[in-house]
């Protein structure tokens, strides 16, 4: 059974070349950063996003696109699901190893 889609949606996927997290922006362009995503509020807009996602798969640019629900929290656009929040932000730990500050956590979620 298809999952019922509610609320504002964005379409996300991973770039084929490097797996980077991207969102469908305007005119078929995929960009990093949820703030660049084209948002869909109606069934029609959602169908458009999905159709463009299928095109990007066909064109071998994007892997496994899917819809994520987004909402505005404290004036910022964020994914509703915690996993998507983490996926959009990138690792929450400091990766600058060779500076020897290994492990100092960046700002918490």
């Amino acid at each position: 059974m298809a999952k019922k889609i509610t609320g504002t949606q964005a379409l996300t996927g991973n770039r084929l070349s490097d797996g980077g997290v991207v969102f469908l922006a305007s005119n078929g362009v995929w960009r990093a950063g949820l703030e660049n995503a084209r948002l869909a509020h109606s069934d029609e807009d959602i169908a458009d996003l999905e159709a463009e996602g299928a095109d990007a798969v066909e064109a071998n640019r994007i892997v496994d696109p899917y819809l994520v629900r987004v909402e505005v929290r404290q004036g910022r656009l964020v994914p509703a699901a915690f996993r998507e929040h983490m996926r959009t932000r990138g690792p929450s730990v400091n990766l600058d190893f060779n500076s020897r500050t290994n492990g100092q956590a960046a700002s918490a979620a």
Partner: protein, 551 residues
Amino acid sequence: MYRYDEFDATFVRQRVDQFRGQVERRVNGELSEEEFRPLRLMNGLYLQLHAYMLRVAVPYGTLNSAQMRKLAFIADTYDRGYGHFTTRQNIQYNWPRLPDVPDILEHLAEVEMHAIQTSGNCIRNVTADHWAGVAADEAEDPRPHAELMRQWSSLHPEFSFLPRKFKIAVTGASADRAAIRYHDIGLRLKKNGQGEVGFEVFAGGGMGRTPMLAPRVRDWLAKEDLLPYLEAIMRVYNLHGRRDNKYKARIKILVHALGAEEFTAQVEREYARIDAPHIEPEQQELKRIAAYFAPPDYDALPGDDPALALRLEKHEDFAGWVERNVSAHRAPGYGIVNISLKPIGGIPGDASSDQMRAVADLAETFSLDEIRISHEQNLVLPNVAKRDLFALWQSLGEHSLADANIGLASDIIACPGLDYCGLATARSIPIAQDISRRLGDPARQREIGDMKIKISGCINACGHHHAGHIGILGLEKRGEEYYQITLGGSGDERASVGEIIGPGFSAENLTDAVETIVDTYMGLRENGETFLEAYRRVGPDPFKEAVYATH
């Protein structure tokens, strides 16, 4: 160390060429993602949350310096300057680009490495005691058998599409440092009354959502019968393993459903049917392999080094490091050096390319060119003369690799969790960092003593939380991370599965709860009991009371 023969070398090169063609076809659209996914997984390439991840096999956790240098080179050239050593004795790169992966595999092949058997429903890279071949408590080095199993399993058509992934661990020691009873098959080499060496065989263990300890299916198996016997186990599994349900497909579910006795009876029946003539060539191959694992030429040294004794007296930090990080070696005058990859507040198991190169250099200078990866996400220099310990310790310190915390509260296993892993439900790394900062004061953790804290970011249990004295499982509830605590788990020769103590904790409250558990133990321990001993004596109640009264 094992060296590839012509067959191995050709096989690995062919796989690289094959994968190069597959990547090209994926990039130019001849292969869809659906078609490509199984192919990339067969070569250790996953798509994780933010990027691809390449898992490189380190068979039975043994490496030489050239191989470690190559891992550093790959980290610098194709990734972000670091790698993550895992509980499967592998290394993972978190940021490779798809078009670069064939080149990475080609570099690996140059030093006889690959990423085969690190994914998919096959027999995975065999793991082993990280002190294999040098441990003082060992009957025999299990690695020649591990290598034989690698060769046998990597091309066996019957085992390429098993109901689920299949993990084998092997040890030759009385103390279990390879968590063998938590594996699909666990093998222990031991001596019988006549001084002969054979295998004790366990089958049907595992972690994941249904943790189980493998029951013993054979108390004694002659060494030469190993592969036929394993084949019999695999056949019973292949025949009855649940292919219809992913969650019930592991061999542990089958062993549990049939009962250990019936499972064993079926294996024995199958075993009796297997023809033995192929044993002879296997024995010749085993002999060929074993020659590579012959003990190196150790210097004839006195058991104790007088200069070392003086230094231990004079340098308290050095003495503390030797006490925790250096273990008994079978050769007189030598020690096994365990290098902690758990700096206080650090990311468990991560090493920078600089650190990898430093370890490679130090292995060449001080450890007869050998390095090991432990399933506890640390590194090992297995062959260090005691007279060199001080110089080695100083050099390790220059690379932030001299933390004296092996087996202590800050020597935490943590899987990548939701900072990287596509399957995760919560983060593991920041939790490990927080606990390590809280308990990591050197005097305090020494006072606490032996303590294994293990953290997984989801039910798959890659962080071995079921085997943690304190186990932590990250879950998600209503968009928030929360953490379940288990107590009393152990992966050693007295293995046990940890018990859930009650409702979970938020990320903010978790470290307080862990500290309360530790303080409770400190308050009730008797006569130098370790945490695990105390827990086994008193059970969970005092810990539950303390934790839920205050949190």
